[in-house]
């Protein structure tokens, strides 16, 4: 299995490279540019100052050259620009034969440097690590909660097929699957935070001058965003589990188990459940990605300081390095999600061997 994992990880490299090129093309195709956005409404900015800002950010260069800079930390400038661009960190050499100046910025993704955010001037990696824990906290708790609720609901729904309970679960599953997260978020906020005032409106913890916040406070802040983020997956998981369980209970080995005189609970939860979990494993990876995608909206409504908001902000601000950085983050997470899916699949189904 280890060989399989290593092979999958190696395969991820060209995938990431492709994603980075694709994201770069998409980002650079976006109309407007970060300098115009940042100087909009600034009556005092001169065209010359704008040109200098563009040059500093390398926006005056062609897209392949910009990509090269981001990826390998190498920049190309026509003519002799050694004096203009050399600094403590940047080493430049003039190549007279092609009359180009080549600079090594010492950065680049190849060297583990995702660049610097245009907005905050912080390293992109720092921005990402500041925020990823908040998103992972929200995403993973939601995913685990969805599994813990969705799976038993699905199984029970199958067990009591056709009952009122089953019908209710199915109706709610359709409802929760179809209601937009944004609407659901604002609705819950209105009811539980504004009218009933049981729960806080947003944020990750209570902000106070003393800065103290206990676990209870953190949990109270988690309830609404986790709930909003979990409705969809709970519905999704319960639907899958119901279908799969119904399929499994008609198989021979379940009949055999019953014939052997096992109790209903044992049949359902030991024999049937493990087999109906197999298809669930295949959707777990995509589900994780889906939950993190949903976090983009949830984080905006609940002022949750996570990756989703960071990415959205970066896109609107055309903060290219940050957009690419968070794009890569989500890409890595997707790849890892699918890999974990495969591994779980093998763990649950002994017939599957990862080679």
């Amino acid at each position: 299995m280890w060989r399989y994992i290593i092979r999958r990880l190696l395969q991820a490299i060209p995938i990431l490279l492709g994603i980075s090129i694709l994201s770069f093309i998409l980002v650079s195709m976006a109309p407007g540019d970060p300098v115009s956005l940042r100087t909009a409404g600034d009556r005092n900015i001169t065209p010359e100052a704008k040109a200098i800002l563009r040059r500093q950010l390398g926006l005056d260069q062609s897209q392949p050259v910009q990509y090269l800079r981001w990826f390998a930390g190498i920049t190309l400038r026509p003519g002799d620009a050694v004096a203009e661009f050399s600094s403590d960190k940047v080493r430049c050499t003039y190549l007279p034969t092609v009359s180009y100046t080549v600079c090594d910025t010492g950065g680049g993704v190849l060297r583990g440097d995702l660049g610097t955010s245009i907005d905050t001037k912080q390293p992109v990696w720092e921005r990402l690590t500041e925020r990823m824990w908040a998103t992972l906290e929200l995403g993973l708790i939601s995913l685990i909660l969805s599994l813990l609720i969705g799976v038993p609901l699905g199984v029970l729904s199958a067990v009591y097929r056709g009952s009122l309970f089953d019908n209710l679960v199915r109706v709610f599953a359709v409802l929760f699957r179809s209601v937009p997260i944004y609407w659901m978020g604002l609705l819950l906020l209105l009811v539980f935070a504004v009218w009933l005032q049981w729960l806080p409106v947003g944020g990750r913890q209570t902000v106070s001058l003393t800065g103290e916040s206990d676990l209870g406070d953190r949990i109270r802040h988690l309830i609404l965003p986790v709930a909003v983020l979990s409705f969809g997956p709970i519905a999704f998981f319960s639907r899958i589990m119901r279908t799969e369980t119904l399929e499994v209970i008609h198989t021979d080995y379940v009949r055999t188990a019953r014939a052997k005189g096992l109790s209903g609970t044992q049949v359902w939860f030991v024999h049937a459940l493990r087999n109906s979990l197999i298809p669930l494993m295949t959707v777990l990876g995509p589900a994780l990605v889906g939950v993190l995608g949903g976090a983009v909206v949830t984080e905006t409504i609940f002022a949750w300081p996570g990756m989703g908001r960071l990415t959205i902000n970066a896109v609107f601000q055309q903060d290219y390095p940050l957009v690419l950085g968070s794009g890569m983050f989500f890409a890595v997470l997707t790849i890892v999600g699918y890999l974990l899916s495969d591994i779980f699949y093998a763990l649950v189904d002994p017939r599957v061997r990862l080679e």
Binding site: G32, D42, R43, T46, K50, T120, G203, T300, P305, N313
Partner: protein
Amino acid sequence: MSQNRPRKLLSVGVLLAMLALLVAGCVQPVPVAPAAAPSAGSANQSGAASSAAPGEIVNGGTWTEASGSDASNFNPILYDDSVSSIVVGYLYPGLIAVDPKTGEYSPDFGAMAESWTTSEDGLTWTFKLRDGVTWSDGEPVDSADFKYTYDAVNAPNVESPRTYVWEGIESIEAPDPLTVVVKFKQVKCDALGDVGLGWLPSHLYAADFSDVMTGPEIEAPRVSAGPFLFQSWTRDDNFIVTRNENYWEGAPHMDGSIVRVVPDAGARLAQLQSGEIDYLEVQPNQIASAEQDPDLARFQYYDDGYNYIGLNLADPANPIDGRDADGNLVPQPPHPILGDVRVRQAIAHAINYQSIIDNILLGQGYPMAANVLPTIEWAINKDIQPYAYDLEQAKALLEEAGWTDSNGDGIREKDGKEMKLGLLTNAGNTTREDIGVYVQDQLKQVGINVDFQSIDFGTLLGQMDAQTYDMYILGWTNIGSDPNDEVFWSSQFDVVGSGFNNTSYQNAKLEDLLKQGYSVPGCKPEDRAPIYKEIQQIIHDDVPYIFLNGRVSNAFYNNDWGNVDPQTWSFKWNMHQWYQKSLQP
């Protein structure tokens, strides 16, 4: 660029919170509270019982606000967004302040200058500073700090977005710790704002400015000479300030203040209603909901901004600069449709401004005749009326301009060309999107086919800069208290790819008047007023902009706070005197 007025921002209205950052650098460099607008008699306050506290006031409480976006940094010469200005205003003193009632520059309201005198030629200003004011670490606040700040702005190793302040200034001297002498290059009536930057604590910085861009003060200021001390900044979440016990105007009663970053407008309103925040500028469609809350007081005032439709007067297929390298006017190839002033006037007549104000802005606006807001009372030309809503007049003007519906399809033509115009605005701003649809419908009634699109803000800016559009809907805000808005109308600022005269408006007489307006010797309002009144008449007649409405803003705040005395130019000007009523015996 010689523009020397407090800066202005493109309003992004109810755009998603992050767009607030786009309008960076647009807050007046004035300590304590970003500028609001003069009231022009319209300010109105309800629900607040802000009488003086009985006897000794019990200190305590935390004032909490919400902002749609995060701060960028807390350096008074480096920050470029309105959110950062909140903290900058709390910590760094300025030479002059804005009178919260009149919007004029004043030596009161927390300013470091106690008084000032002007030389006879109006070029040299001598400011006398307050004695005994110290930074929170005990170092004196003196003229060296002022000089250091302005030298830093100009230093080659500092990339400050405030370099414009030096365009009108010849020299700055600090002959003694309590005197500052500023010499201007020419009389420019709106230049005083340029000496209003927040001061850097020079004793914490290197003499060669090498640490201005990189020092710890940028993100975690260590000292303050204002009412609050910086405590913490959690990026994208909140920033916190606490009481400065040694504030020279008297320590605040409150323990401190928190600004939370809440990107969603609906969530911000929810936080206001649940009591998690104490203050919010609400959108027109949120007013009804906020008004029902008995714990909230409302402050309604004339904003110093307006919404408009920018018309491209030059050919979008061939954008050229308004001046050549020698500064001579370059005649613009006219826009095939909008180049004719009769067409522009027809459009102005075809829009029902009151209907926009009533139905889209829910009453939070007023009609405008020209470019000066009624808040600048001495300069406004009250003789000009907004274009009357008159479809017949509009049709007549179009006929006169040669645009007729010859094929009976409802759309006019001229020389075989259909009268079709593009109209753009920024997606996500529902108010402007509604206005766009409305205008499209109105213009169709007079035979103009409008292709309305709401597009990404960056794309819109790109088209405006490139001058390749026909018409766009946007707004200006933080116009300031001086009527000089040369940057919108002078060909000097008609620069393709940049520059605010993106309508390519050109009028040599107007350009002369604009210059005269701000260089009147003595700068007396009564001397300047006739010039600005003439300017308004010309702009009204030439219609480079269709002025849709002046804006009315609404702030709601927790009425448990006493002594709150919001004024249109500053909500928080006396914040150190506020106290929480529920804490009092």
